[in-house]
Subunit: 499 residues, 2 copies
């Protein structure tokens, strides 16, 4: 996979003189702050999507906003691509380096500047780890809500770039709902404040635009997030289902019942088995599907909602309902879910983690169709996902050493994403488009819509230097792929019957 050409010709059009660039950048950075040797650059050749590898031309590690600003100014003047990187945990190749570009590491931007318990905000640098914010807020009974699986390692700057989610984003929102303000460096090195501490901000909403923009619009150098008070009570329930479809219907029924759980996760039979073998969480390995539902809030509130959820689940055919008896059991129920990905990794030499989102009401149908598509490709697919959000994470198992299996896995992945679009969903839930899903963007969006994205990009980065070749495909690329777009506005709901 690493041998494949990842960038297209139009994304590697830059004429960069490495020697000149080094001479200009060297004096702007601290002694160890410019990495030119191959062994040093090798560390940065991939992110969490390790199948995609590319050496950067140079790696710059500024320590201050002024240094970052100076690096960007030079790159802007010299027409050099810039790929910003936090902890490098992206699962879509968002931080994959550019062969002609500077990999701008923000790892040194790791200070928690301020925790304001009264205002319930944290002001931090972009390289601060997601979990470190909650740890710093814990003495005040506060926490930062979005909790991607990688929260021990991933940085808040990367979370904003990808609009990261997590188990609890069903109730507490994605990153975009928890960030109040960012300070952005434009590619020209100008410092711009975006957002405010107030609930709404005048002018265009650039904060949401920046959030999830995958490093294409600017480089974030300071962030203010909101903190939430720790819930008084948490309670977790597990329920087994005889079929995956029944589990899907149960999810829709809970939400339709007016309950927004703190977390609502689903695992199918193979995922349950793998997690149980790996973690011994006490899962029901006879179930075809399992829901984990966490409720939080006041004690009476949680008890009231738990009774309602139990009634809904039983009406939907749930078997073997179990409520965690204590905090230790609650932690164990979650441990299995959180360890599910590495657990699945033991089932096959390779797996490919997809990330599509669909309207919840289509969950049961889409899961059924994924099983059919997998069978047609002669591959196994395991499902572990944020059911409440309709955010699927099908894990396609394959063996990269068997000729053709990788290609079949990729083909199946593309089919699954196109299925998501067909039912009114999207090609990414929380992992971003990056390098991985850029072709599927041609399926998701019309020519006019992609042209509008490019116009917005040009409003921030007219030379196209920030993370070229990611997130938004060129119209050329879509045309060459001959992708026929399933138009959201024109696909009537009855057409879903086609599968």
């Amino acid at each position: 996979m690493s041998e494949r050409s990842l960038y297209r010709p139009e994304d590697t059009r830059f004429a960069v003189d490495a020697e000149v660039l080094i001479a200009r950048l060297r004096p702007l950075l601290p002694a160890e702050g410019l990495i030119t040797h191959e062994h040093g650059r090798r560390v940065y050749e991939c992110d969490g999507l390790s199948a995609y590898k590319q050496l950067p031309l140079l790696v710059a590690c500024p320590e201050t906003i002024e240094q970052a600003r100076a690096v960007l100014k030079v790159c802007s003047e010299c027409g050099v691509p810039v790929v910003a990187r936090g902890s490098g945990t992206s699962l879509s190749g968002g931080a994959l380096p550019h062969p002609q570009g500077v990999l701008l590491s923000l790892a040194k931007f790791n200070r928690i500047i301020e925790i304001d318990p009264h205002g319930r905000i944290a002001r931090v640098e972009p390289g601060v780890r997601n979990l470190a914010i909650s740890e710093a807020a814990a003495p005040f009974g506060l926490y930062y809500a979005p909790d991607p699986s990688s929260q021990i390692a991933c940085s808040i700057g990367g979370n904003i770039a990808e609009n990261a989610g997590g188990v609890h984003c069903l109730k507490y929102g994605l990153t975009v709902h928890n960030v109040l303000q960012v300070t952005l460096l434009t590619i020209e090195g100008e410092l711009v404040n975006i957002g405010s501490l107030a609930p709404d901000s005048p002018g265009y909403d650039l904060l949401a635009l920046i959030t999830g923009s995958e490093g294409m619009l600017g480089v974030i150098v300071e962030i203010t997030v909101q903190l939430l008070p720790n819930p008084l009570t948490k309670q977790v329930l597990m329920a087994s289902f005889p079929t995956v479809e029944a589990g899907g219907h149960a999810v829709a029924a809970i939400i339709a019942g007016g309950i927004i759980p703190a977390g609502l996760e689903m695992m199918d039979g193979p995922a349950i088995q793998a997690a149980e073998d790996f973690i011994q969480a006490g899962y029901d390995t006879d179930a075809a599907a399992m829901l984990i539902c966490e409720l939080d809030g006041g004690e009476a509130e949680v008890a009231e909602q738990m009774a309602k959820v139990e009634a809904i689940l039983r009406a939907q055919g749930a078997e073997r309902l179990r409520v965690a008896r204590d905090e230790a059991e609650r932690a164990r129920f979650w441990a299995g879910r959180k360890g599910a990905f590495p657990a699945v990794g033991r089932l096959a030499p390779d797996y490919y983690c997809m990330d599509g989102t669909i309207p919840r009401k289509h969950l049961a149908r889409v899961l059924k169709r994924i099983a059919e598509l997998s069978e047609a490709q002669d591959l196994r697919t395991v499902n572990v996902f944020h059911a409440g959000d309709g955010n699927l994470h099908p894990l396609i198992l394959f063996d990269g050493n068997h000729p053709g299996e990788l290609e079949r896995a990729e083909a199946l992945g593309a089919q699954i994403l196109e299925l998501c679009v067909e039912v009114g969903g999207t090609v990414t839930g929380e992992h971003g488009v990056g390098m991985e899903k850029i072709d599927q963007m041609c399926v998701q969006f019309s020519t006019e819509e992609i042209a509008q994205f490019h116009a917005v990009k040009a409003a921030f980065d007219p030379q196209g230097l920030l993370n070229p070749g990611k997130a938004i495909p060129t119209l050329n690329r879509c045309a060459e792929l001959g992708r026929l777009r399933v138009h959201q506005g024109e696909l009537p709901h009855p057409e879903i019957e086609r599968f």
Copy 2:
């Protein structure tokens, strides 16, 4: 006020031949769909900010997307400004016509296309009234959450243009948090789908960018919003305070206590008195300030939270706590609040309704400072506002017939908005910038930030034809005003001590 020149020379730079324009537009519209006579255009000369009046060159009333598209294409080709208008209830002059432009009325786009109770969404045209959506959803036990005071009259398209809020947006979010998808016509007449039915959308988040963009980026022709299930229980509490500051502290304490009420409104003494005289809601006219706190959810949940709120309020010095005994009393408590603006209108010949937002923790200080500023201008200010959001609505009372009073009221309004910016807030909460607050934008934003707004605008509307002269000031305008910007990032919190 109507005699003043509202548009600056750079906003009226368009060279439009009305005869040619009429000849081109006439065949594109239905018989009554192009209004050219002055008496017909007079109807559209102002919106809810009636002090600002301007006759449009023409009024176009398309009935279909194709007609709207054709009108925009002609305007784009001829370089003619376009101001879109829904119900015309904007309080900031957002729908104020342009003297050289077409006023594009979307009043005929008033169909509710679909209520999908299972998917919990409504698909509607932009001219549908806010309340009509909840009425159509009511048979399914669902409603549309954002509830601006004008919800009987205001249109959902205008709600999106202004990112409208309302009493319940503290818990249920602003318009931006409740809209899933829009279909937008660009000024060139291209149809673009933005957003999705999934929780997140790939590509840049243009949905949030469009929401609150005040008609500057495109014309919305179809909208999908999410619907929420009606809460099982609602309960309202009123509490009196001996000082406005104590009320402000109590608001901060409730939120800090981890409770997000469905509504948390504050009225000061003069507002209480005015509302009571007008509505007889049973308010405590001896109080210097009053909080109305609504909780909703399951029965046990509401009871639990109500007990907690009562304890917090008592600890903050609240007097005469009263919980509504029944639905009729709950409605009466709210009737006073909802009638507060017309009630205040009886206190003086004119009032000027401001709309600034501040971080909640500064509520007490800012209210005190507003009282001081009012006294210095020899004017009375009455406060009725969304306290939980920190969204202030100071009502400045004046008599436009007394020479100089209008100017003093405007000066006081500007001082209040600048005070909001100084404490880290914004110049608008939910009414938008429009024509009214455009000068204050120079205080809120730096030159680089305003330049970035203009670049984004150009990505959608390169000729600057959509709603010229609104929302985002030209850099020229800011320079002429000589406004010194209080820079968010550089104003340390201790400086708040200055007042």
